[in-house]
């Protein structure tokens, strides 16, 4: 036991003296997520808000053919802009989000009671143009239904006759569950904080020691290799835990800087969330520590291990990506799958739902069981003769 502690403390002390490890494990890895999140979301929201509330500026071609229509749209907040020559190209190159074109035949059709046509020109594949298009569409719909109702009234018919069905929408999302949608990628940041937090230590403690040829003298001490391994794993665990803790607290603080009232969303990233999220992620600390050490044990140099582990960083992203491409209904068994369980659980917590003790229990037991099995494999590799021999 004291040998494990000795190894553990030496690894922590030695790595706290390494700038690169400290920077990446305790600053870059945990805080990158929350900072990027606050900045990006604020920029995005302010832009969307400006679009949704300000006057809508849309180039109008042929405004002179439909003065009444334009006047009605102006009352709803449209600011018609001068006509432009090639509207199709303009929207394709994003010179403008949407263009309204009124053909010369508009007046004739209106007067004869035929449906008069107007054209909306836009490019749906351009990001962020939806707001302008939808606003213009809604303005047009309102004008159409008003005019339709007026025509029916003029013929002595109740406008209700043209509305056989009224759809009332009852959105069951809560301000918090809408926020969960926005925070969808947050579980991945937690996982990455654990992964990067421990990665540099895992590399240094096995591949790095091997490259610097210090494993051989270390193994000449009267300490079982399993004790040395346990001490090293514990040191990795401490670094990744601190990284995770900083990341969770970072997001908890970031929640206060979100313009949540503007969004009609609410965030509750308080102590209960922090506690439950940390508990859920615990098995990943062990899993990543043994997995990264196992891979580092196969690498002859620090750089080689860094390449492997950098490449494997996408692995924890798989559940997040799968869930965003094929939304699945959460089932209890999913908590038994490491990474998937954490993804589900943290998403659930973000949506303001609660995760039952039994689900957390399943995630903990199964996560630690998988970590234990990989740990046995890692211990096996640690016992091999060739591990200590660097050349």
């Amino acid at each position: 036991m004291s040998a494990i502690l000795t190894v553990w403390w030496k690894e922590i002390r030695e790595n706290l003296r390494d700038k690169r490890t400290v920077m990446s494990a305790l600053i870059y890895a945990p805080l990158f997520g929350p900072i990027m999140f606050v900045v990006l979301i604020n920029v995005q929201i302010n832009r969307e808000m400006a679009k949704a509330e300000g006057p809508l500026k849309v180039p109008v071609i042929g405004a002179q053919y439909a003065p009444n229509l334009i006047a009605a749209l102006k009352r709803q907040g449209l600011e018609p802009q001068p006509a432009i020559a090639e509207p199709e190209n303009a929207v394709r190159h994003r010179d403008t989000d949407v263009v309204l074109r009124i053909p010369a035949s508009y007046g004739n059709a209106w007067n004869t009671g035929e449906p008069a046509q107007v054209e909306l020109i836009y490019d749906a594949s351009q990001m962020g143009t939806d707001t302008a298009r939808e606003r213009l569409q809604n303005m047009l719909k309102r004008y159409v239904s008003e005019q339709g109702a007026l025509r029916l009234l003029a013929r002595g018919i109740s406008p209700a006759i043209a509305t056989p069905v009224v759809v009332s929408e009852r959105d069951q999302s809560t301000p918090q569950s809408r926020a969960g949608l926005l925070f969808g990628f947050l579980p991945y940041f937690f996982v990455i904080a654990i992964y990067i937090g421990g990665m540099y230590l895992a590399i240094d403690l096995t591949a790095g020691e091997r490259e610097r040829q210090s494993l051989e003298p270390l193994f000449a001490n009267p300490v079982a290799r399993s004790s040395i391994l346990l001490g090293k794993l514990a040191a990795i665990g401490v670094f990744s835990f601190i990284s995770l803790l900083l990341c969770v607290i970072g997001f908890s603080i970031a929640g206060h800087f979100m313009p949540s009232e503007k969004l009609g969303m609410s965030f509750d990233l308080g102590a209960a969330f922090v506690g439950q999220a940390l508990l859920l992620e615990l098995p990943l600390l062990a899993l990543f520590a043994v997995g990264q050490t196992l891979i580092a044990a196969f690498a002859k140099t620090y750089r080689e291990a860094q390449t492997y582990l950098g490449f494997l960083m996408i692995l924890p992203a798989v559940p997040s990506m799968l869930m965003s491409f094929m939304p699945v209904k959460p089932a209890p068994w999913m908590y038994a799958v490491p990474l998937l369980g954490q993804q589900l659980g943290v998403s659930q917590l973000l949506r303001g739902g609660s995760v039952g003790m039994s689900e957390i229990g399943i995630a903990l037991v199964c996560g630690f069981a998988v970590a234990f099995l990989i740990g046995l494999l890692t211990a096996q590799v640690y016992r091999s003769e060739r591990l200590a021999i660097s050349v």
Partner: protein, 244 residues
């Protein structure tokens, strides 16, 4: 005391150690001499339990290295071929780390450390981080680290490799002092002068086999050469890999 009996170790097709036997006694310095690639390092690695022999037996103070490797390591002080200091720790911290792994009490450890620091003349580098140490400073630190638990048996792989003349001389004095303390000192070298100057017994290894196991005088008599260098060349059968 270290007894080596018919030790064998192969790496694939290569027989690195092919039936090595010798005994290193307490209060003596035993030199393992051989050209580069003769199997010295592999033999030593089996002695300090880093590798398991394919066949044969090693007894350290009567304890079998395969049966009780941890107990064997407790009685050994080892300077491996790979010195491998921790660069971000000071020399003092390097020494203390190994003392703790050996379970040495703090007070006792300090006392032994002070003795080693004086004997190795390394007080000026004690509180410097080992990054940027010269070869001599590295070896001194590694030896202090290996001996801080006061082992009865000392195994050193090429202890003077890369040292300048002054460091080599003080290293030799240090080995002699350990012998005087009654320890069993076993070291490997490919340098004849060194072995000749220090050893009570010389074990010559070539191609994984022991080709001679004698006192320096007996070796000269056996080969009929008055010069040790000529004696070695005669025994090994070639001049390849030996340095004067």
């Amino acid at each position: 005391m270290i007894e080596v009996r018919n030790l064998r170790k192969s790496f694939g097709e290569v027989k690195a150690v092919d039936g090595v036997s010798f005994t290193a006694r307490d209060g003596e310095i035993t030199g393992l001499l051989g050209p580069n690639g003769a199997g010295k390092t592999t033999t030593l690695r089996m002695l300090y339990t880093l590798m398991k022999p394919d066949a044969g037996q090693v007894l350290v103070d009567g304890i079998d290295t395969v049966v009780e490797p941890v107990a064997v390591r407790r009685t050994l002080g080892v300077l491996p071929d790979a010195r491998g200091l921790y660069k971000r720790l000071t020399a003092r911290e390097n020494i203390e780390y190994f003392a703790q792994l050996h379970g040495v009490e703090t007070a006792l450890m300090q006392q032994r450390r002070e003795k080693l620091v004086d004997a190795l003349e390394m007080r000026d580098i004690l509180d410097r981080r080992t990054e940027g140490f010269s070869q001599g400073q590295r070896v001194k630190t590694a030896i202090a680290r290996a001996l801080v638990h006061d082992p009865k048996n000392v195994i050193l792989d090429e202890p003077t490799n890369g040292l300048d003349v002054m460091s080599t001389r003080s290293m030799r004095a240090f080995l002699k002092a350990m012998k005087a303390e009654g320890r069993c000192v076993l070291f490997s070298s490919h340098i004849m002068q060194e072995v000749a100057a220090l050893c009570d017994r010389i074990v010559v290894i070539a191609h994984g086999r022991v080709v001679a196991d004698e006192t320096p005088d007996a070796l000269r008599a056996q080969t009929g050469e008055t010069n040790l260098e000529d004696a070695f060349v005669k025994i090994i059968g070639s001049e390849e890999g030996l340095a004067a």
